[in-house]
């Protein structure tokens, strides 16, 4: 991202920016990403205090993959996505896109924003109620220097791509659409700049099941059609299992497990992931008597010492309260090297009685 973006756009806006680093290069690489919010205290019982919403988060997003991010509310998923989008300034850490570090210079950010787009959960508040659907979709290309007429043309193409007949929908307003249709419009708007990476933050969580299925199918189709890479954030494990190639599990601002979706859903390495999977309501669960976990997720204002999960973990031992486990490859022989977990049980010599013997 060294060369400044020419305005108006030199490339045709329907052409995505070229792949710089080649297929083996991670599209996005995040390291040590941290965000601390100053205490807003008074709202919550008069207790002021800083919130470390995201703590030293590191991961790669590979070209063409869907990386799912799961975790309970407040674990930092949305904060992480806003950091990635450049909507929030990180307290620490680095973001590298296709081999180039994301700087703070205007031209670099502008070029980055063209390649990374976002879709939010709330389909309504992310659309301007006074703009027609086609104007909303045409807005980002116009901001990036395209003439209005050309941008409206692109908007209509994108509407068709997300399954909304341009002739029928282009000139409607957001309130004239259903929630599912509005979410299609948000997706169309995110794709209008032909981004390479799309960050989807709970994109189907507000939709009814039958509509959720339509939108998930659409997202799969668009990914293939436009050669996209997704970061897909959701609290719904079934949806994440369905759509992800790899999965990242967060707890209290930290990554606790990262690996191939198949590996994680077949055998989670972190006790929190296992409990999360076992908590999914299902018909098969009818005979269960005890819940997989007790208690609520802890507050990030006052995080537990050592492993943040230790107060709720059934395997917790004294060492868990004093030692924070690093995110390390899972030390079970039949697991792939690319399966990481932050639990002392998986770490030889950690002092946990269940850990493998140190080599």
């Amino acid at each position: 991202m060294t060369d400044p973006l020419p305005a108006p756009l030199a490339e045709s806006p329907l052409q995505p920016l070229p792949d710089v680093g080649g297929p083996a290069q991670a599209l996005l690489s995040v390291s040590g990403l941290t965000k601390t919010f100053a205490g807003r205290g008074k709202l919550f019982g008069g207790r002021a205090g800083a919130v470390q919403a995201v703590s030293a988060v590191s991961f790669d997003v590979r070209k063409g993959e869907t990386l799912g991010i799961v975790g309970e509310s407040g674990c930092g998923k949305s904060t992480a996505s806003k950091l990635i989008m450049g909507l929030l300034e990180p307290t620490a850490g680095e973001i590298v896109f296709d081999g180039e570090a994301l700087g703070r210079d205007a031209a670099g950010l502008r070029r980055y924003r063209r390649q990374v787009q976002m879709v939010f959960q709330d389909s309504f508040s992310s659309l301007n109620p006074r703009l027609t659907i086609e104007e909303s979709i045409a807005f980002p290309p116009m901001v990036h220097g395209m003439a209005r007429k050309a941008a409206i043309g692109i908007a209509r193409d994108m509407l068709a791509a997300v399954g909304l007949q341009p002739a029928q929908y282009a000139t409607r307003f957001p309130h004239e659409l259903s929630g599912g249709q509005r979410q299609r419009v948000n997706i169309a708007r995110a794709l209008a700049l032909r981004p390479r990476l799309v960050v989807l933050d709970e994109p189907v969580s507000a939709l009814d099941k039958s509509v959720e299925a339509q939108v998930l199918n659409l997202l799969m189709d668009l990914k293939a059609e436009f050669g996209l890479t997704y970061i897909f954030i959701s609290h719904d494990l079934n949806v994440v299992q369905y759509i992800s190639d790899r999965v990242l599990v967060m707890y209290l601002g930290r990554v606790v497990e990262l690996g191939a979706a198949e590996a994680i859903f077949a055998g989670a390495a972190h006790p929190y992931t296992s409990a999360l999977l076992a908590s999914r309501p299902s018909v098969a669960g009818r005979s269960r008597e005890a819940p997989p976990l007790v208690g609520d997720p802890p507050s990030p204002v006052n995080p537990p010492s050592g492993c943040a999960f230790h107060p709720r973990c059934v395997f917790s031992e004294a060492v868990c309260a004093t030692t924070r486990p690093a995110l390390l490859p899972v030390a079970v022989p039949d697991r792939q090297a690319e399966h990481l977990a932050a639990c002392l049980i998986n770490q030889p010599g950690s002092g946990h009685s269940r850990a493998p013997k140190a080599a």
């Binding site: 919550f44 019982g45 309970e72 509310s73 259903s178 599912g180 009814d208 099941k209 039958s210 509509v211 959720e212 299925a213 339509q214 998930l216 199918n217 799969m220 609290h235 719904d236 494990l237 079934n238 949806v239 299992q241 369905y242 979706a261 859903f265 409990a275 999360l276 908590s279 999914r280 309501p281 299902s282 018909v283 098969a284 669960g285 009818r286 269960r288 008597e289 005890a290 819940p291 997989p292 976990l293 007790v294 208690g295 609520d296 997720p297 507050s299």
Partner: protein, 346 residues
Amino acid sequence: MSALQSQSQPLVKVRDLNVAFVSKEATLHAVNGVDFDLAPKETLCILGESGSGKSVTLRSLMRLHPPRRTRITGTIQVDGTDIVAASERELSSIRGRLVSMIFQEPMTALDPVFTIGKQITETIRRHEGVSHQEAQRRALDLLELVQIPSARQRLDAYPHELSGGLRQRAMIAVALSVRPKLLLADEPTTALDATVQIQVLLLLKRIQAELGMGVIFVTHDLGVAGEIADRIAVMYAGRFIEEAPAEALLEAPEHPYVEGLLGATVTPASRGRRLTAIPGSPPNLRTLPVGCAFAPRCTSAEPNCRAAVPDLRALAPDRTVRCIHPAGLRPSMPPAMAFAAEERAP
């Protein structure tokens, strides 16, 4: 009717319930001919997508609708009392004695300016006229029953001082303080995180068994219904379109909409398959179609489906469906597969 019901009088009996909201511009037909029974100690889940009439049906059992704008017809009996005909005084006695309700958002039911203990003891004293001390003791028992840790200290907590899961438990304790025979639950776990939701579901199940309450539980989540329901009734456009024992319904749905809903729901088994989305969207409740409300989206629909609302048919003693072509009586391809075929077509 289920085996449970044939043994005893139903706790709830609803016949041909219709609820419409009248305004100057239009009449909205939210509930359109609902019949069901609930046996004492039974859990019925009302399952449906948003706007299908679940909450309106539930609120009708306590007649919680705005009186001037609401038109209710049909019969609702709760423990023998006619709810449709009851006077306001009878109703408030029923609400404080026989029936309690819990909600998705606990602050709907909790008062932010009183401690949890105060809210429970006041309800108990108003309702049973016992001493303050006795009410305090019962309040403590209730907080222990809903598994609030350090219950004694929590009696002095204000609702905002509790975490989401504890607040939900406190609301349940307040609802139980009148010793209801019938608990109405309107998506009480929908806003909770997965690990907390399952705790609250199991808690409700245990309390229901311990106290022997009847429960009507509204949800849009098949998995939640699967965890908690004895029977499931699926709503679409204000009607119960299928009702059956939970396992039977989730294993082999009969109504094309229920088949579609199961196909559209993402489960662990969905990975690697294309989801079978139901095309289109639910009808406008101001201008309902004459016949089956699902006909415009249904691959099994034929002219008869559009001519009149299909009768409720009993497929088994404990199973009903409102469809001319339920899966069990359909010779050809089931609609779930038909949806898939249609979607894949270029």
